[in-house]
Amino acid sequence: MKTLRRLFRQLTSWATSARDEEILQAEIAQHIEMQTAEGLQAGLSPIEARRQALLKFGNAEAIKEIYRDQRGLPFTETLMRDMRHAIRRLRKTPALTGAVILTLALGIGSNTVIFGVIDAILIRPLPYPHAEALVSIWQSAPGLPGVPESIGSSASLYFTYREENRTFEHFGLWSSGGASVTGIAEPEMPRALFVTQGVLDAVGIKPALGRWFSQADDTPGSAETVILTYGYWQRRFAGDTSIIGRTLTIDSRPRMVIGVMPEEFRFQRDPELILPQRFERNQQFLGPFGSLAIARLKPGVTVDQANADVARMSGIWLNAWPPPPGMDRAVFQQARLTSRVLPLKQEVVGDIGPALWVVMGSLALVLLITCANVANLLLVRAEARQQELAIQAALGAGWGRIAREMLMESMTLGMLGGAVGLGLASAALRILVAKGPATLPRLGEIGIDPFVLAFALGVSLLSGALFGVIPVLKYAGPHVATALRGVGRTFSQGRTRHRVRNTLVVVQVALAFVLLVGSGLMIRTFQHLRSVQPGFTRPEEILILHSMIPEAIAKEPELVMRRQNEILDRLAAIPGVSSVGFASAAPLESFLSAAGNPVYAEDKRLAEGQIPAIRQIRRIAPGFFQTMGTRVLAGRDLTWTDLYDKRRVAIVSENLAREWWGDARAALGKRIRESGAADPWREIVGVVENIYDNGVQVKPPEFVYWPALMDRYIWGGENGSAVGTGMFAIRANRTGTESLLAEAQQAIWSVNGRQPVFLVNTLKALYDQSMARTSFTLVMLAIAGGMALMIGIVGIYGVIAYVVSQRTREIGIRTALGAQPAALLRMFVRHGLWLAGVGAALGLVAAAGLTRLMSSLLFGVTALDPVTYAAVTALLVGAAVLVNYLAARRVIAVDPVQAVRAE
């Protein structure tokens, strides 16, 4: 305790050091005065009294020294002193110091930004207690061609898993979508999360107000309830705590608010409302698989054990539930439906992981280049100080002490650079959070937390040590005193003197080469992506509005269709609108639509019990293709007569037509149907261009387009089926303006005042979003590559310029002896080119190995794309030639008389 207290005082002593010194001084003076006074009383002369007093006190300076040593900790004292010295020395060369701090700030800052992103997304993606026990459960159907790799879960799976599992502590299904809220101000459609019991229990975050859903809330027939999230509660009800118990009209039905989630609650797709998902147990079939499953494993249970458990339950499930009406159980047996358990983290992180690691890796390379460059600058400084250091050593400073001083200087530089870099990083992170790609999961959570701070500090110290140790090894080693014997600059210097510096430049060029190849590959990828014809044209002109006609307003399919038709007419009448369309979903919105269904062709015979591949289904009204700019390759578009007469017609995508009949024209007149015998055959009247619905880097899915209004449909009722919740597409020259959006909303509300409009977007935004990962990686790599090129070139320039200045005398003698300036120039340029050449060659080898790591990010090019490699080599060598020439030109300016006389 006593020792601890003392240690604390010692640690904090520097804060009061100046005042303490004064107090001690006063105290000693006081003491001596008192002693003198006593001597005077004893009859001594004033001078003698004072002499005796001083003698008695002892060596005041030595006492002060002991006092000081005791006051603080010796180690921190020297550290502080060394740091003060270092800062004083650095301030003597403001230009160099400024340049070093700035480059370091860029290097450390950019690494901190990306680490901040990685920290939030990859390292701690789940803001839930004991998140490692959370898993998601996916199904796959290897026996069914065309089914996506991972599909969700069905209500029947929910019941089976819930009742039969041995490994889950909590288990539930969720899905997300919109829910209309009417009766308060404008009708709106907030993002809603539908959960069964068990989902909120699994994530383990308690509501801030009210309660969780109970078994009763899941039971059909009981009073309907809703939980609000913090953001929605603040936005809509200004944080009014009396909200609990109030009733809201959601999807035209009254629901009582039973809880509000806390501010820190996060869930995928950022819900605003949480609604209980109710399944009628006795009305469930094996499919469809529209929900997602989440579970919390029991303590100690591994993912492998959970996988074994779901495999066991899959078997039980397959025999316990009936197939959907019109489908055969054989379909499910043939599909070989298998469930697998994955850590939830994997689902949240998605496919952004490789991109982030590549970016982080390249920024680490930039930091290495920066360190190499700073080491080079410090070498120059250390060389200039060599004589001074040698004298210090001769005067008795141990080499350890000199080395410590130099390292201290580098560490101080590192810390200063890190501090500025942290400032840059926090600004950059703020911009990233505001403008970053929406596909980055948990974007809003990214920021500077203690973990990121620690990273920045660590990187600063590490880079300080890294670039600091090179000059130390070279100039402050045990041989430091020998430098005195050399006579410094008078002699021309041997090749060995430049070996370290040359090596550093070669390393810089090699690393820059790797980074430039990386960004070059991303540029080529981006070019390839942009050159893909996505199946729609000029997406910036297309405004997309989602809307829903509530059942309370129109239930009868034909009436629903008439309403949509009326809205389309009003939208088309808006000035500047060239075309309008309606469909169940927009392109690139596959996250909104279901996974598709098997589609049969009348003339394609299948083996007994075999089912055909899954195709994407979209339901459209006339004008959709024209609005999107999708070309009709054969036949025709649908007409309103097709819809209202409920003709059994269809349109298919080109790839489907080719697969089945080899040619677009050949598909016309053929008949297809969805799922099972319950659905009637429909005749193909048109074939359209493929639409890259899952993003341009993915093969376009095969599409079947049904009319938005049909007489009989497996998913519809007795009176047929119409699309009630769908998307209006408006092609206009004013897209992107507030006024167009306001007029469009007005047009919808003039037909139906209670119709919510949601998910407003432009097709361009969806298109950009589908390439967000590529463009994000591209921009980051381009920045890294650009920085690397710049720093590398500065490095070459520095070395050549330095070599020229060191060899001024030699140049003078050579010129005096008749050497041609042009020949001398060539000599230096050759030296620089040689460095660049070796660097580029090493870079080429390194790039060939390293870029393989990013092949999952590439599209249309291989990691060894010759065009990229050639371009980067040309760029680097060209830049090196130029910069060498500029640096070496100083040779010509050397006046031989001056040069020889100078020393």
Binding site: Q30, H31, K56
Partner: protein, 114 residues
Amino acid sequence: MKETDVRQGTLALMVLKTLDVLGPLHGYAIARRIEQISEDLLTVNQGTLYPVLLKLAQEGSVASEWGASENNRKARFYRLTRQGRKQLQAEARSWEQTAAIIERFFAVKAQNLK
């Protein structure tokens, strides 16, 4: 180094005891008192007192404040804290034990010599 430690230890104990007996004192008075008691046997530089006082202050055994000396000069007065009193008791006890052991040691040695 070892020697200074021992001397500092004993000096600290003397300071504590002095403050215990006489109440708050300034540095010079403490020095004088120690001189008087030890009858100049302890030829310590008076100045070495100050690092000891600092150490005791850092440990929380003494506290100091500015006050006026007998002849109305400004002086820093040191006083024993509760923690200091406890330390004094503990160290006095251990000192007595040590002294007793040493004494017995010398006694034994004398007998053996006879």
